[in-house]
């Protein structure tokens, strides 16, 4: 059987036979197979098998979801009518009297949705938090007297709410303790603000130390850090590509990547989420047909992907994409905002997760906001790339550089994860996160919820579908002192509202069991257990057409 492993290319066809393509396209929760080791050329490594699931809900659920939105829309129109004709007081934004004859500002679907649907359940978002976002945190209680148009704080604080919504993957966002002493010293020595940009007077020795450390952590030649994660993407992509270049961007990319791509002026084409066959087709079309009218060759082709997609919980299919990039000579830009520090046996991100060489990826971008408990972003890669960005990046020229205490917090976190002082606590936390993730996902699947994504991803989307259930879910969980993030339209497709649970290494087994118990009861109360495949302990059979013995 001449089946190459790891998605390597064979005879010009990309074999993405085994795993992900089945899972994501057929929509069944099948356990997809093991990647076969190749012995052909003897130097392709054994890549990790990818197990993903995107189960579709039963039909009646989708019918009820749309029906619910229909009733909401009907009432929205009815209330808009009452508000327009002055029968009811209008609390939403309206134009001034003088502007009523001009182009209407608030009549599009987005404003309609905000006024009539979002406003009714708005109390589940923007809850004021008044402590560090550790595994437990405190929320300020607030009530609304006029159905969520205005809120007032009652003055009470809900203490020790279990935090399942913060991106606190390694538990490094915590109250002050002795290990943060270096941060306090740096604050005393350097102060808070830098008051300058990188290219003027804002480059501190702390920044140099951090950049060397990041490069060492990621095993690349050089790195550059920026003050804001969103700005890292949106300000540096325009410096790397311009007009005459092609950007192939994943369907579900983050807003910062989309903004950076649009600001650059390059042509943007979108490929289906994590679908390497679609990406290959787009690459081939791009190379064969060239630029739109002149048919000249593209100056550069850049593939923009993320390491972990937060709304779906999927992990990038890195081996296949690297194979594609090498074959078609494109460049790869990976945004590891959610995956750095969270996946991989040593916590070094999605490259480490697959055991690949970081030199295969041209631009490694990431943020320090999630696993490191700080703020800011970095771009790492070859020295020529980073030197070019130091001169040409908009962020280096115009944005204030990173604040010194934050720099020290990141330095402390990276040293903690790497274990430079000899302790293995960082590595233990990474492993604890992986253990928590696997345990939680396995229990959720056993209970019968529909959970999307890769089974190793610490971001766990639990599908809720109906808008009424979204509101009831969040409110009930807060009553039981558990805080989750629920997401609906427009961050997700209209009918796929979900609750996104973020694992943390700081969650103890008791915390997870409390949450799982609450989810179990809530699943029965709200009838959320839609899954038709309750996974058993035995592995599934692979999709064979016949079970006869082959010789």
């Amino acid at each position: 059987m001449a089946n190459p492993g790891g998605g390597a290319v064979c005879n010009g066809n990309l074999h993405t036979h085994k795993t992900q393509s089945h899972g994501s396209q057929s929509g069944d929760g099948r356990k997809n197979g093991v990647m076969k080791e190749t012995q052909q050329n003897g130097n392709s490594p054994f890549y990790k098998p990818i197990v993903e699931s995107f189960e579709q809900a039963p039909l009646h659920v989708m019918v009820f979801t749309y029906m619910g939105y229909g009733i909401g829309t009907l009432f929205g129109h009815f209330r808009d009518f009452l508000r327009n004709w002055g029968i009811e007081k209008c609390n939403a934004a309206v134009e001034r009297e003088e502007q009523k004859d001009f182009v209407p500002l608030y009549q599009d679907f987005e404003n309609f949705y905000i006024r009539n649907l979002y406003m009714r359940i708005r109390d589940n978002w923007n809850r004021p938090v008044c402590s560090a976002p550790g595994p437990q945190f405190d929320i300020m209680e607030r009530v609304s007297d006029d159905y969520n148009w205005t809120f007032r704080l009652t003055g009470r604080i809900i203490k020790d709410v279990i935090n399942m919504g913060s991106y606190n993957f390694l538990g490094l966002a915590a109250k002050y303790d002795e290990s943060m002493r270096t941060v306090k010293d740096v604050l005393e020595e350097y102060g808070c603000g830098v008051c300058s940009t990188r290219q003027e007077m804002g480059t501190l020795d702390k920044h140099k130390e951090l950049e060397d450390l990041v490069a060492k952590f990621l095993n690349v030649e050089a790195a550059m850090v920026f003050g804001m994660g969103y700005a890292t993407n949106s300000m540096n992509i325009p410096a790397l590509v311009g007009k005459g270049c092609l950007i192939l961007s994943d369907e579900l990319n983050h807003a910062s990547l989309i903004l950076g791509a649009r600001l650059s002026g390059a042509t943007i084409r979108i490929f289906k989420h994590n679908n390497t066959q679609n990406l290959e087709k787009q690459l081939r079309d791009a190379i064969i047909y060239g630029q739109p009218r002149t048919h000249r060759a593209w100056k550069k082709i850049l593939i923009l992907v993320e390491g972990i997609y937060s709304m779906e919980g999927t992990i990038l299919h890195l081996p296949q994409i690297v194979a594609l990039k090498k074959k078609y000579k494109a460049y790869l830009y990976i945004d590891e905002a959610h995956s750095i520090g969270a996946v991989g046996p040593t916590g070094r991100g999605v490259v480490d997760f697959f055991g690949m060489d970081p030199c295969d990826v041209d631009v490694l971008m990431g943020t320090f906001t999630k696993s490191f408990g700080a703020a800011g972003g970095y771009i790492a890669g070859r020295k020529e790339l980073v030197d070019y960005l130091r001169v040409n990046s908009h962020s280096a020229a115009y944005a204030t550089s990173m604040s010194p205490p934050i720099t020290e917090q990141i330095i402390r976190s990276i040293k903690f994860i790497m274990g430079t002082d000899g302790s293995t606590e960082g590595l233990q936390r990474v492993q604890q996160l992986a253990k928590n993730t696997r345990y939680f996902r396995q229990r959720l699947n056993e209970m019968g919820f529909i959970v999307y994504g890769n089974e190793e991803s610490p971001l766990i989307p639990l599908l809720l579908y109906m808008p009424g259930k979204v509101a009831a879910f969040a409110r009930h969980l807060l009553q039981r002192k558990i805080g989750v993030v629920v997401v609906g339209f427009p961050a997700t497709p209209l009918a796929d509202a979900r609750a996104r649970i973020c694992m943390s290494a700081a969650h103890t087994r008791e915390n997870l069991d409390t949450v799982l118990e609450a989810l179990d009861e809530l699943g029965d109360l709200l009838q959320l257990k839609y899954s038709r495949h309750r996974k058993s302990a035995r592995p599934d059979l692979y999709d064979e057409t016949s079970f006869e013995l082959e010789d």
């Binding site: 029906m67 619910g68 939105y69 009733i71 909401g72 009432f75 009424g468 009831a472 709200l526 009838q527």
Partner: protein
């Protein structure tokens, strides 16, 4: 005892109806409106069924029995 369980069950069914049809996020007067409209439609359907279905069934039975009856007499 049994009565309480039945009441709980009905309350649970009502709650399911509320969250599925988004009534739980509507204001109380809107909920009353939806319930009233739905009950009215349901009452009309029941009334129509009560008045018209027996007559229709009787007529259909006569129609088909006439055909089958004709068939019987011919075959005889």
């Amino acid at each position: 005892m049994d009565f309480r369980r039945v009441k709980e069950y009905i309350a649970w069914i009502y709650y399911q109806y509320q969250i599925i049809s988004c009534c739980s996020v509507l204001e109380p007067w809107e909920q009353s409106m939806v319930n009233t409209i739905l009950l009215t439609i349901f009452a009309m359907v029941v009334y129509t069924a009560y008045v018209f279905i027996p007559v229709h069934i009787r007529l259909a039975w006569q129609f088909f029995s006439k055909i089958c009856g004709l068939h019987n007499t011919i075959s005889n």
